[in-house]
């Protein structure tokens, strides 16, 4: 063979070998892919600047640097995170893709996903609307890029990470480990093809409100709400209509959310569930074709829905299958707990409810119920004890009139009674809640001053158990949260031990770690301390009260709103509800009552009154105690005695 041919062959061979191996380095390939994806979406990602407004929301200092938004219509409507506007700015400027700044207004909010829709003041057309991708197409572990416009310059700021999960916060969000922070809230989370999976927002499974979750910034856990699920509702928002979470209006039987099936305890009045014919004891087994085996799955299925969405519900009534298409609503008629008018006697050793006290002018009084009557049946159902009678009355399908069977001196008497709303006045004097007992001689846990230690928690906590503690007597629990910086164990014990001894009350006094304030994260500790005490002592789960002064009072509200299943009463002195606190809707399966002092100071007074009105609109019973000027900041012995009586009446029926 000739040299040239051989040479040509050889060169061909070697060059094939060289191109096969001169690969671009993987890092460079990733860089290029990321750059291309970002360039594809960048024209739709805009910079938002705000002016004026609050500097602090609650205890969180809000910065006022630029934030990010995404164009969602050819007219230039911009979707962004509600976090970016929590300071209620007086002016908003958007830098549009053509480089020009335009004033803008918030025209609608998505309260379910914490988004706002902005409309530019100047009419625009032909604005670039980005492509979206459904989370069903996303896979755990694939690359994702978070894009923001908070730093100056033409190019957006970026952070890469993976898709960590696609169905978080009860179905509302996609989770990523890219760095998500105020540097990109309101901006898009995109895939490597430049398609938007979601809008970045702070979210927290526990908290609510615009800033909940912002403390997790750059932590490796960040959330984006799927954009393709919001887009079908954009026309509504463009017309100025807000979007709300879709509610079914059904209360489930209390238990373990993650284990128990979704059995209806009650349907809220006038709710979609009630109107569709769902009844107590129905078991919901399917939503939109998806099987529901546990209460948590029901929450997941409904978590991402808006008011106005229709869901196909399948429930079992015994062996009978019930199917209905139910349209979810945004507001439920507030539920008010019905009231018969009696106080039960405790530790009687007998079944049913023995009447200890009858409220004057109550339905019980009008129906002729007498002291000492023992209520044995409600209609044809046997009454086990006070707590079960309370639940039965609250979950009646038609709560106008009830028929009771009482045992009066050995004879069975039928009584018919109406029901009224909850009282707010505190009775002046009450007969003893239980008969005198002999001193308990058996084994019992420690009494007197007891230290409460929770593993893995740094807070300290002290409890006081009356010396006369008898495990067969249900004891109320008074959790007292001190004003910041003012924890004084001896003073607290001195003030309350007398009332604890007289009223079978256990006192629990946790101490905040920081001298200056309670931290939201300490809600966990308070909940654990309550559980701890309830494990060791016989705590009456219908009389657990959180009490606090000033900052401690604000904390008391937060504990109750975060764990309404744990708390029956909130008693605050010289405090207001913390800004952004969301009281949960009143629910038939749990009772919550409020007690607050009224301040003499005008501003404080106005704020307390606003909080009271909000709670009363939600049909919660609120007792307001006017205190004279000098004592407005703290309770005296007489007021404390009255508060102890208020706690004593929390198991009223």
């Amino acid at each position: 063979m000739k040299y040239p041919v051989l040479l040509a062959m050889a060169v061909a061979l070697a060059s094939i070998a060289s191109t096969a191996f001169a690969q671009e380095d993987a890092e460079e390939q990733l860089h290029k892919a990321v750059q291309e994806a970002v360039s594809a979406v960048a024209p739709s990602v805009v910079r938002i600047e705000t002016f004026g407004g609050l500097e602090k929301v609650g205890a969180v200092r809000i910065g006022n640097g630029p934030t990010t938004g995404v164009i969602v219509s050819p007219q230039g409507h911009v979707l962004s995170s509600a976090f970016n506007f929590v300071q209620k700015p007086s002016g908003i400027l958007i830098t549009m893709p053509d480089g020009k700044r335009s004033g803008a207004q918030i025209i609608a909010r998505d309260h379910a996903r914490m988004l706002v829709l902005l409309k530019p003041d100047e009419q625009k057309s032909g604005m670039p609307v980005p492509q979206t991708v459904s989370r069903d197409e996303l896979r755990q572990g694939q690359w994702s890029i978070a894009v923001g416009r908070t730093f100056g310059g033409e190019e957006p700021n970026i952070s890469t990470g993976i898709i960590s999960a696609t169905n978080r916060i009860w179905g509302k969000a996609i989770q990523t480990d890219a760095k998500i922070s105020p540097s990109n809230y309101g901006g898009p989370l995109i895939d490597l093809q430049g398609r938007i999976a979601g809008i970045l927002v702070p979210l927290s499974p526990q908290g609510q409100g615009e800033i909940a979750g912002a403390e997790w910034y750059d932590s490796g856990i960040g959330f984006a709400v799927p954009l393709n699920e919001v887009m079908p509702h954009i026309e509504k928002m463009k017309n100025g209509e807000d979007l709300h979470r879709g509610l079914l209006g059904v209360s489930l039987k209390q238990g373990n959310t993650f284990a128990d099936p979704a059995v209806v305890a009650a349907c809220q009045p006038n709710s979609p569930g009630a109107k569709a014919g769902l009844k107590k004891d129905d078991k919901i087994v399917e939503i939109d074709g998806k099987a529901i085996k546990r209460q948590s799955e029901l929450r997941h299925a409904l978590g991402g829905k808006y008011a106005g969405d229709t869901v196909h519900v399948v429930a079992m009534r015994g062996d009978q299958k019930i199917e209905a298409d139910i349209t979810l609503t945004d507001k439920l008629t507030p539920f008010e707990h019905p009231f018969l008018g009696v106080l039960p006697k405790r530790a009687t050793g007998q079944k049913g409810v023995t009447v200890r006290h009858i409220y004057p002018d109550s339905p019980a009084h009008d129906a002729g119920i007498q002291l000492g009557d023992r209520i044995t049946h409600l209609a044809d159902r046997e009454v086990a004890n006070a707590a079960s009678l309370q639940e039965m009355i609250s979950t009646l399908d038609e709560p106008e009139t009830i028929s009771l069977t009482v045992d009066r001196g050995g004879k069975s008497v039928e009584v018919t009674s109406k029901l009224a709303g909850q009282p707010t006045e505190i009775p002046g004097e009450l007969p003893l809640a239980r008969d005198d007992r002999d001193e308990f001689k058996g084994d019992r846990p420690a009494v007197g001053e007891v230290e409460v230690k929770i593993p893995a928690e740094t807070n300290t906590c002290v409890a006081y158990v009356p010396a006369s503690y008898d495990p067969e007597v249900p004891h109320g629990l008074l959790v007292t949260l001190h004003a910041p910086g003012r924890f004084n164990k001896n003073a607290t014990l001195k003030r309350w031990t007398k009332f604890c001894d007289e009223n079978d009350l256990i006192l629990l006094a946790p101490k905040a770690t920081d001298d200056k304030k309670w931290d939201r994260t300490e809600i966990d500790f308070v909940q654990k301390a309550i559980d701890n005490i309830s494990d060791s002592y016989h705590v009456d789960r219908t009389r657990v009260v959180i009490h606090g002064q000033q900052g401690g009072g604000a904390m008391a509200y937060l504990v109750a709103f975060t764990h309404p299943e744990l708390v029956n009463g909130v008693a605050v002195v010289d405090s207001t509800m913390p800004r952004g606190a969301h009281p949960p809707a009143n629910d038939p399966v749990r009772r919550l009552a409020f007690y607050t002092t009224m301040s003499g100071d005008a501003t404080q007074r106005a704020r307390i009154e606003a909080g009271v009105k909000q709670l009363r609109d939600m049909k919660y019973p609120v007792t307001v105690k006017p205190l004279d000027e000098a004592k407005a900041k703290t309770l005296d012995d007489a007021a404390r005695a009255e508060l102890a009586r208020w706690i004593d009446t929390l198991d009223r029926i």
């Binding site: 070697a14 970002v38 310059g153």
Partner: protein
């Protein structure tokens, strides 16, 4: 087919020639260097620095990297260097005493010189590369002081999130540096990471890791690095002795009629420690110091371009300057740098 010997010989020669032509194929044959290889080549240039601090929340450590074969180290200027006993530990565990050659507080950088160091591996600042948005990077540092002795520094992998300038508005960022920075999508805002090295994915130096810094615009911690191009000149100046203090100049001699603190109107915090920091205690009325607006609690950093690290430095430096000569003093007031000119002649 019969392949005769001649054809075979020709083929072998042809292949050899071809391989020479496709020379680069040889190295490509082996594939691009892996991240592991790149990191191995960078680690010997990274150093662990130990100095002052170690109480409350002020850690006594930070990071740095070698910039010459004679043991020059570039790092961030901080309280950690505020001691006579700076210890630097190399990648192989070798320990050196280090001297603070000089610092530029406007850029918050400092250069150290290791005593009796020879033939150290190093980054050549002139070969530093610029980065773009999205460039993949590696950040080398001893964050949290996790590495000790001959343990290698920690490496973080990420990318450049944005290339931008720190907002000049006062109070937005607690640093006097106002130039371009790389904002990083990588966790470098950690105790002790400041002074470390930012490289591209090929291990080429690109920036100096910044100290822990809060972004006042949105109240979040900022991961950032200063491009080498911004600090190269200053490093040269420091190495050339421009920022040196007089205590390191053996030929300096006092002048017959020197400037005094009294004449300037400065009353300093009393010299009771071995290295009393030069804080202004009081300003005397009707004096040059009062006229140019110096205040109590100002910390004197430079006198002309000489670094002043202690009361002794200050008095020694003044003793070399004639009473009539105007001087420039640079002070730190809070986090702001102020430069003033003083003269005793009206």
């Amino acid at each position: 087919m019969n392949i005769d010997l001649l054809t075979l010989k020709r083929f072998v020669i042809a292949i050899t020639v071809a391989l020479v032509i496709c020379g680069p194929a040889e190295s490509a044959f082996a594939g691009p260097p892996s991240l592991a290889d790149v990191i191995d080549s960078v680690q010997p240039k990274i150093v662990k620095i130990y100095g002052a601090g170690g109480f409350r929340r002020l850690e006594a450590y930070q990071s740095g990297f070698l910039i010459s074969s004679k043991g020059h180290v570039l790092t961030t200027w901080s309280y950690v260097l505020d001691t006579d006993y700076i210890v630097v530990v190399l990648n192989d565990g070798r320990k050196f005493q280090a001297e603070l050659l000089g610092a530029d507080p406007r850029l918050e950088i400092a250069v150290l010189k290791l005593d009796e160091a020879d033939d150290t591996p190093f980054f050549d600042l002139a070969e530093a590369v610029p980065l773009r948005n999205g460039s993949r990077v590696l950040a080398f540092s001893n964050m949290y002081s996790v590495a000790t002795g001959n343990e290698p520094a920690s490496v973080v992998h990420g990318l450049v999130s944005a290339k931008t300038t720190l907002d000049a508005r006062s109070g937005m960022f607690e640093t006097p540096y106002r130039g371009p920075v790389y904002v990083l999508d990588a966790m470098t805002n950690n105790p002790g990471a400041g002074g470390g090295a930012l490289t591209d994915h090929k291990g080429r130096l690109a920036g100096l890791l910044g100290k822990e810094l809060k972004n006042g615009l949105n109240n979040t911690w900022l991961n950032f690095s200063i491009p080498i191009s911004e600090i190269e000149q200053s490093v040269e100046d420091i190495r050339a002795g421009k920022f040196q203090s007089s205590t390191s100049d053996p030929d300096a001699e006092p002048v017959p009629d020197p400037l005094t603190l009294d004449a300037l109107g400065l009353v300093m915090v009393p010299d009771v420690l071995s290295r009393t920091p030069p804080f202004v205690d009081r300003i005397l009325p009707d004096t040059p110091a009062q006229r140019v607006g110096l205040r109590p609690d100002d910390l004197i950093l430079f006198l002309d371009n000489r670094m002043i690290q202690s009361y002794k430095d200050l008095s020694q430096e003044l003793s070399m300057i004639d009473r009539a000569t105007p001087i420039r003093i640079t002070v730190m007031r809070g986090r702001e740098l102020k430069e003033v000119e003083l003269t005793t002649t009206p």
